[in-house]
């Protein structure tokens, strides 16, 4: 029920997203048909494209066509590869997803304990380290961090592999089940490939994680400080409850609520930073697809990319809302 209600509130947002992406496809200066036909097109080809993509009809009709095509999963065709955009996006999705999920995991695994430790020992070196990481982390341009990491760990120290994508030239991808190399290689029992894939993943995931770790650590620290200073913690201490219970069951569970909300911002950033990180590390995911298309003035993939990322973001926010509702009974029960 709650799921349905949340879905219902997401519908107007999705509608807005579709309208905006439609407008973006029609906002190109000049004749859109020329863009979609490509630079080498003849007059006749342009006319054909114009008719096929419906540019010669009125705007509302075009919108309706757009909706129809979306309903069939048709996001157009890429000029440079000649493939349907939808297929290419879906093929590349696992690469980006694997990267983002690992980055999220790294980020949370570092930021949350750091924030808790900083809150429990105010004024200590841990606290100061947390403050520095928090302020510096949000100032680091993602693409720059990536390059720095490559320089230090690949060029200087030689411990990281070359930033050439998901796997080294000599390794081959494991048999496809999920598209996630880490999972697929484990499923096939192939530890060599697993290690190789992981080695390639570490630097790009770390690059993304460094940026998102900052707001997460900051919010965790602030939320824990707030929770630890609150009246119900005083009651818990006065009842003689064991320290770890007070900190983790009582304080942390309350502090985790604003952290969950911050994840929304983290996802927004990750979906964008995806583009930058994939360019630096030659990662064959959604971001690099969009960038290559952009440089080649191939617009259908770019628009498909924007739409897909937006829908992914709406979906992720929905998940965050639901998780929040699970943790906070006040939201669940007052609904």
């Amino acid at each position: 029920m709650i799921v349905l209600r949340r879905l219902a509130t997401a519908l107007p947002v999705i509608a807005g997203v579709i309208v905006v992406t439609f407008l973006l496809t029609r906002a190109l200066p000049g004749d859109p048909a020329v863009y979609f036909a490509g630079p080498a097109a003849t007059e006749q080809a342009i006319e054909e494209i114009r008719h096929r993509l419906g540019f010669d009809r009125t705007l509302p009709v075009q919108f309706f066509d757009y909706l129809q095509r979306l309903a069939h999963g048709d996001l157009g065709t890429s000029l440079t590869t000649g493939q349907p955009v939808t297929t290419e996006l879906l093929t590349r999705l696992p690469a980006s997803a694997e990267l983002m999920l690992l980055a999220l995991f790294l980020s949370v695994a570092i930021a949350v304990p750091l924030g808790i430790a900083a809150a429990m020992r105010p004024g200590s070196p841990v606290d100061h380290a947390c403050r520095i990481i928090t302020t510096a982390g949000v100032s680091l341009p993602t693409f720059f961090t990536g390059l720095l990491l490559v320089y230090v760990f690949y060029y200087l120290l030689g411990v990281a592999p070359a930033p050439l994508g998901r796997l080294d030239v000599f390794d081959s991808a494991p048999p496809q089940h999920s598209g996630f190399y880490l999972i697929d290689s484990l499923l096939a029992g192939d530890f060599e490939t697993f290690r190789a894939a992981l080695a390639q993943l570490v630097l790009p995931a770390a690059t993304m994680a460094i940026f998102t770790l900052a707001p997460l650590a900051r919010i965790t620290r602030a939320a824990m400080l707030g929770a630890l200073g609150s009246e119900f913690i005083r009651t818990a201490r006065a009842s003689g409850l064991a320290r770890h219970r007070v900190v983790f069951v009582y304080a942390f569970r309350n502090a985790v609520l604003p952290v969950i909300t911050t994840l929304g911002m983290v996802f927004s950033f990750m979906l964008g930073a995806n583009v930058l990180v994939e360019k630096v590390f030659a990662w064959p995911g959604l971001g690099s697809y969009a960038v290559e298309a952009l440089i080649a003035s191939d617009y259908a993939p770019v628009q498909g990319f924007v739409l897909m990322m937006a829908l992914l973001y709406v979906l992720l926010n929905l998940v965050i809302d639901l998780v929040y509702g699970l943790v906070d009974p006040r939201v669940r029960l007052e609904a």
Binding site: V13, V19, L24, L140, S268, K279, V302, Q303, V306
Partner: protein, 281 residues
């Protein structure tokens, strides 16, 4: 007013880091203002004999693949980067604040429309939306400014809306109304000055974000074209040399970029401490 200044001075003295940020800001502003006059070399002059030389007494930050002096290019780029950031934030602030004030103060259908527009913008991952807008409108610097302005608009709209909402029935607003002031005048002359301190904090923080955004867009090849000097595109040009060890081509523009963003973030934090210490985290 002097009480604020005194408090400001107290905060700055307690927090040397914040004072440092303000100093750095002045340095950047100076570079932006004086630009080419400060550059020892012509940022566009290429000298292939000197290509890819490391930092030295002559070329403080080394030279790039076309033999151009990196230090000069960075100094000149300051004007462009700060210009893009300031213009887009000014647009976002101006339009966003007015829309938000109108929405929060008047309520009704204005509120609903503005709310819907803002929610729609925020439904996108912001960098992706900026990419989409630049791709749609055309690949040039002006569109980078517009795209960055659009994605930063919601923050101002929401902030001014909630502040206006809280204050719209406050005593001083009622008093102004009773004195016969028109609604528009109340919004501009009474509400706006009241929320300015908070908005200024937000402006400083957004400036940092706007610089990162613009640099990110130019890193992937949008907006700025070679041979223009801009921090993001310089990092992009230097990226291919990292794996062969010529680190300075990407490093110095990146460090300067990072320092500028850091500076604005620290200033924003410092301003927040001056304006509203309760919101400190």
């Amino acid at each position: 007013m002097t009480a604020t200044l005194r408090h400001a001075r107290y905060v700055l003295s307690e927090n040397p880091v914040t004072a440092f940020a303000f100093a750095l800001f002045f340095l950047l502003a100076l570079c932006a203002a004086l630009g080419p006059a400060l550059a020892p070399f012509d940022p566009l002059a290429s000298d292939t004999a000197e290509a890819l030389t490391g930092p030295s007494a002559v070329h403080w930050f080394g030279t790039d693949q076309l033999g151009r002096d990196i230090f000069s290019r960075i100094v000149v780029a300051t004007r462009l980067d700060l210009g893009i950031a300031v213009t887009s934030v000014a647009l976002a602030f101006g339009i966003g604040t007015l829309l938000g004030l109108a929405a929060g103060y008047c309520g009704g259908w204005i509120d609903r429309i503005v709310g819907r527009a803002v929610d729609t913008i925020m439904a996108f991952p912001l960098f992706v939306l900026a990419m989409g807008i630049v791709a749609a409108l055309g690949n040039n610097v002006a569109n980078i400014v517009y795209a960055t302005a659009i994605i930063n608009l919601p923050i101002y709209a929401r902030l001014s809306r909630s502040e206006a909402n809280v204050r719209r029935n406050a005593g001083f607003v009622e008093a102004a109304r009773l004195c016969g002031n028109g609604e528009a005048r109340i919004v501009l002359a009474q509400l706006l000055p009241n929320i300015m301190p908070l908005m200024m904090v937000q402006v400083s923080l957004t400036l940092g974000y706007a610089i990162l955004n613009a640099a990110g867009l130019s890193f992937i090849g949008l907006g700025v074209r070679p041979p223009t000097a801009e921090w993001g595109i310089m990092v992009a040009e230097g990226a291919s040399f990292i794996v062969s060890g010529e680190w300075w081509v990407a490093f110095f523009p990146g460090i300067v970029l990072m320092s500028a963003v850091f500076c604005f973030n620290l200033m924003g934090d410092g301003l927040r401490d001056i304006v509203d210490p309760l919101r400190r985290t």
